[in-house]
Subunit: 164 residues, 2 copies
Amino acid sequence: MDGTTRWADLDTGNCSVARTAAIVGDAWTLVLLRDLFNGLRRFDDLAAHLGVARTVLSRRLAGLVDAGLVEREPYREPGRRVRHEYRLSAAGRDLLPVVLALMAWGDAHLADDDGPPVVVEHRDCGAPVHVALRCASGHDVDPRRGTVARPGPGARLRPRAVDA
Amino acid sequence: MDGTTRWADLDTGNCSVARTAAIVGDAWTLVLLRDLFNGLRRFDDLAAHLGVARTVLSRRLAGLVDAGLVEREPYREPGRRVRHEYRLSAAGRDLLPVVLALMAWGDAHLADDDGPPVVVEHRDCGAPVHVALRCASGHDVDPRRGTVARPGPGARLRPRAVDA
DNA sequence: CGGTATCCTGAAAGATACTG
DNA sequence: CAGTATCTTTCAGGATACCG
């Protein structure tokens, strides 16, 4: 903020956080994404592992397919009829930082004494992976106080604020 | 995964994603966090900016206070009576990567033609900040395919799976 | 087995009205 | 102004039943 514009006057209609939250901002959806990242693909596996009602899972998956995050693909095991599996699309895989950031926060603030139930490792070297903030100049950014938010090129004033 | 344990057999009861999602996995809560990160602190400012019913805002704030993410602090403007403002606790501020990851995904996949409404900059150098994955050995990790998830020290088998 | 349509119920969103 | 109690209504979760 530069002092001439207040956040309170900015429109929320095109906020990327709000738009993304409208799609994945739901507890069931987030754990569903977690399971899809972990390689679960079959409807019944997902339903059993999540402990969610199948109707709910059906709706969530349909929503994610509609949003382009999940692809429903037919497959056929030898001698069996066609089934479908659900796998993340490229756009869906791009949500990995969201899921890892949630996991990291839970590990840091809510974990049991015996440690985190899941660790994510670098495929190449096996070291644990964490979420970091980086700037375009290559600096590491302190998440606690290294960031400043500013209105971007798509910023709009709130309708009410225009004639305020 | 090492082939001997399947994700489907792991318990979800202590999953950090699920625990975190249970607190913040809600569209209103996520945009509320966004506004708190952007420095909004007063109840009415938040209510007006979010466009949410005040009863709902009241409940969300109370929940976040209960969860330790938000602190409700009294303050007094000169000549006025005591009011309260709501600001993120240290734990709440630790959620910045979650919000930035959501924002980044929305910017990449849902933005309007005129660009993102908000940009986040490095306080020290002004360059735009992005969310990155890094491993403990210092490597950059490709979010698309550089990660492998494994059961961690706190992993538990699902009760049903034990005698399966 | 792999889902979806339907229904029921509880919870949560929001409007209204009230209090310090 | 800064909230909260209360009420109504909508909506999401889940059980059941049903189809491919």
